[in-house]
């Protein structure tokens, strides 16, 4: 491949790629993102390839392995073009039937189509409620391109924004456009990207760096991962444009080692852009030079914090530094360094191509554009969701997410990752944007969204996240290291039923200090889970402390199981299933749980047939005395409560 030496060369290349593609030719696309990969998309791919060749269809049907589509709950996802027929949960065994119908117009494999609540099937991917209510401007191309093939990205207009800035716009104009678009950082802080770029551009020094923060580490979050895996060129194009605007000639992508597919797709993408002359010396013949180095992170959560990330790039242990002098002025090796998150960079080519006015027409007053959320937890449609800023939590969780599984009640949603806050049902109509979430005591963070149902104990949730953060604290500053340690100790004892009067207030007191004087954002935001759950679910804490009761029935030390002798039919199921042989009884004999032996694993509760419902889970009250061993079950003629 000869280097592209001008904008005209790029356009020629694009025309050449498109001329070889027939939009009417059937193409089987298969999601190969991490979610579908885990569900066996590799085997499905092999089945497709061998089935096509077995039927002599190799030249008549194209196959493309794409990036993540987002509907991970129902993978592996197959979409067949040009009709855009969408099959969900495709197994290798389904492939012969799928392939046999590709060339038969109008014939469908009905059992693999999406079915709505009324049982109606939906053929087009875009009509499925999960997708229909999204606006996928950043994430949408994932489903159309093979991330390992730069030509797929170019065919969709890729790198036209780069050509536009290099030949039609000066760096200042690019900067102004991004500022006017009011693009705010998608990594959590929400700081205006254009303002940050300007600071770095104006900072003294000849050598400046630009960085992609791909150290996404929140439990349950995978939007940056899917973007980098599925459409690496969109991130790179944004980065090169940013470098041009800032006057930087060297960039870094800090990506976690735990994202092997992202690392390999990114590395491949970099070699492709170098080969095409879109990276390196004299990009597209414009005279602008820019190189990118991939830095693989060793897996410390705190290295996602910008100053810690920069020390890690320097080769030192990733620990935050005081940032009273911003990293935009003094970052890597004390040189001006502009860092943005994966999703922020991926927005840049869109803003350049479609203009700041178009971008600001989407979203709310203070938060423009869209945001990708990873919707996980107790929700029917887990996956990646991209919506305009300002859409309500209700719309995301119910309209797109399909509500709570098994008819359970919604209890809370945690936004913003481990240091986000838990928002209760009363706030479910909250419009989701940077400012509204912060005001409600949570945050946008990088876009994690964990839905919790009625079976969730909020003190236990706070304990889990605080423990995660204490574990991930670098330990440099005292409030974060020792403050979080003490908060975990208190939360642990509350969940063990050993909480004391004054513990809630002590948690609040510690939270204030950790928030106010911790060195970096990890510590400063770490008390959010505790504070938000105290604010919205204080009664649950009080139940744990005062009545030694866990209302959700989660905290093992506070729950007990017993069998109601009036309901037990001696069916023997729980007796057989109990993993620790804590249940005694026999034919016609009432089953009894030995409280000493019981490990509270919940198995008996789950296996007791609902028509008997003899196993009782109780909390906060003493277990009734068991009937004498050998008591017989009450046999009534078909009469049982």
């Amino acid at each position: 491949m000869a280097r592209l030496r001008s904008a005209a060369d790029l356009e020629k290349k694009r025309a050449q790629i498109l001329s070889k593609r027939d939009p009417k030719k059937p193409c089987i696309t298969l999601c190969s993102g991490t979610g579908c990969h885990a569900l066996g998309s590799d085997k499905v791919y092999q089945a497709i390839v061998s089935e096509l060749s077995r039927n002599g269809l190799k030249s008549k049907v194209d196959v493309r392995r794409t990036g993540c589509h987002g509907f991970c709950e129902r993978g592996p996802i197959v979409v067949i073009f040009p009709a855009e027929t969408c099959y969900l949960g495709v197994k290798p065994g389904d492939v012969p039937e799928v392939v046999s119908k590709v060339l038969m117009d109008g014939e469908l494999v009905n059992r693999l189509l999406y079915k709505d609540a009324s049982g109606e099937t939906i053929k087009h991917e875009g009509e499925i409620p999960f997708y229909k209510h999204q606006r996928r401007i950043v994430f949408g191309n994932n489903r159309l391109i093979d991330p390992k093939n730069i030509d797929d990205y170019i065919a969709l207009g890729g790198y036209s924004a780069l050509a536009k800035v290099l030949f039609e716009m000066g760096p200042e104009e690019v900067l102004e456009t991004v500022k006017r678009a009011n693009l705010r950082g998608r990594g959590g802080g929400g700081f205006p990207a254009g303002v940050k770029w300007e600071t770095t551009r104006n900072a003294p020094g000849d050598i400046k760096y630009v960085v992609v923060n791909a150290d996404e580490g929140d439990p349950g979050a995978f939007m940056d991962r899917s973007l980098l895996e599925g459409n690496p060129h969109s991130v790179l194009e944004g980065l090169i444009i940013g470098a041009y605007a800032i006057g930087s000639h060297e960039g870094f992508v800090y990506v976690r080692q735990e994202y092997p597919l992202a690392v390999s797709n990114l590395t491949l993408a970099l070699s492709q852009v170098r080969e095409y002359g879109l990276l390196g010396k004299n990009i597209l013949g414009s005279g602008f030079d820019f190189e990118v180095t991939v830095h693989r992170g060793a897996g410390a959560f705190v290295s996602g914090e910008s100053s810690a990330l920069m020390t890690a790039i320097e080769g030192v242990v990733g620990e935050p530094r005081p940032k009273y002098i911003r990293t935009a002025v003094s970052g890597i090796w004390e040189r001006p360094t502009n860092l943005n998150n994966v999703e922020t960079w991926a927005n840049v080519p869109l803003i350049i191509n479609r203009g700041a006015d178009w971008f600001t027409s989407i979203g709310t007053d203070g938060s423009k554009g869209t945001k990708i959320f990873s919707l996980v937890g107790k929700v029917n449609n887990t996956g990646l969701v991209e919506v305009p800023m300002g859409v309500s939590l209700r719309e995301i969780i119910y309209t797109i997410g399909g509500g709570i599984p098994r008819g359970k009640k919604f209890k809370a949603v945690q936004t913003g990752g481990p240091s986000g806050g838990c928002l209760p049902e009363s706030l479910i109509d909250l419009p989701v944007d940077f400012d509204a979430l912060t005001e409600a005591g949570s945050m946008m963070g990088s876009g994690g969204m964990i839905v919790m149902d009625e079976d969730t104990c909020m003190a236990d949730v706070a304990r889990y996240f605080t423990n995660f953060l204490a574990d991930e604290s670098c330990g440099k500053c005292i409030p974060c290291r020792a403050g979080l340690e003490q908060m975990v100790t208190i939360l642990d004892r509350i969940c063990r039923g050993e909480g004391e009067a004054g513990d809630i207030e002590l948690l609040e007191e510690l939270s204030e200090v950790v928030q106010d004087v911790s060195l970096c954002a990890l510590g400063q935001t770490a008390p959010n889970p505790v504070l938000s759950t105290i604010r919205h679910f204080r009664d649950e804490y009080e139940a744990h402390i005062e009545r030694k009761r866990c209302p959700a029935g989660v905290c093992k030390a506070l729950i007990s199981y017993y069998i109601d002798p009036n309901k037990c039919t001696a069916c023997g199921i729980c007796l057989r299933e109990c993993p620790v042989e804590a249940i005694s009884g026999g034919k016609n004999l009432v089953h009894i749980i030995d409280q000493e032996k019981c490990t509270k694993c919940n198995t008996c509760f789950e296996v007791c047939p609902t028509r008997f419902s003899a196993v009782v889970k109780s909390s906060g009250e003493s277990v009734p005395a068991a009937p004498p061993l050998g008591a017989e079950v009450m046999r009534k003629k078909g009469k049982r409560e």
Binding site: P322, C474, G475, R481, A482, G483, T489
Partner: protein, 201 residues
């Protein structure tokens, strides 16, 4: 060098641009307590004990004075109720692992600490680590572990070269006295690799 005028605890202070609040206060004879600060070392900002309250444009916030640079017109309070409250809590947290600080703690009115932790008598201020690296260039001491498992340890390969024998300057910078106490205050001689590692502080 440009002069900067600010007010610390009601006193008008003139400082050089680029100075930290802590340096400006000390020059003016105003005491701000510190635990991880040393004038020969680059400011580190870890103990947060030098936290002060600043007001600028009707906005008040807490900053760390050892790393915050002086600004014109800044109003600084080094002992506002909020600052004292923070310091007390920090001290109480440190006291859990370093009871040796009880005298300092009682100066702040802490008599019965509410927290418990593993007693290490080390507050991880990093003075020994940084002094050894920045001043002596010996790099014989390091941090190991992360978060609550963070500890200070001697690097046996360095100690065994004998470099520590004539130095022992870390003894003097340790604010809790842990290093001189636990290294016998005497000799590094005869320590094996295992001995040194076992003496992880």
């Amino acid at each position: 060098m440009k002069k900067v005028r600010l007010n610390i605890d009601g006193k008008d202070v003139e400082a050089q641009e680029g100075m930290t609040l802590l340096e400006a206060a000390r020059d003016a004879g105003i005491h701000i307590p510190t635990l991880c600060y040393h004038e020969k070392l680059a400011p580190y900002g870890a103990c947060r004990f030098c936290t002060v309250e600043i007001s600028k444009n009707a906005e008040t916030r807490l900053v760390t004075s050892c790393v915050y640079n002086v600004e014109d017109g800044l109003v600084v309070k080094t002992d506002s109720p909020k600052v004292i409250k923070m310091r007390k809590m920090l001290l109480e947290l440190m006291l859990a692992s370093a009871p040796v600080l009880s005298e300092l703690a009682s100066q702040y009115g802490i008599e019965r600490p509410r927290f418990k932790s593993e007693v290490t008598q080390c507050i991880l201020c990093g003075l020994c680590v940084r002094y050894c690296a920045e001043v002596k260039g010996a790099n014989a001491i390091t941090f190991v572990g992360r978060g609550v498992n963070r500890r200070v340890a001697f690097i046996d390969e360095v100690v065994s070269t004998g470099v520590c024998m004539d130095c022992r300057e870390c003894f003097g910078v340790c604010p809790t006295g842990k290093i001189p106490r636990e290294t016998d205050g005497a000799s590094f001689e005869g320590l094996t690799v295992q001995d040194v590692l076992a003496r992880t502080l």
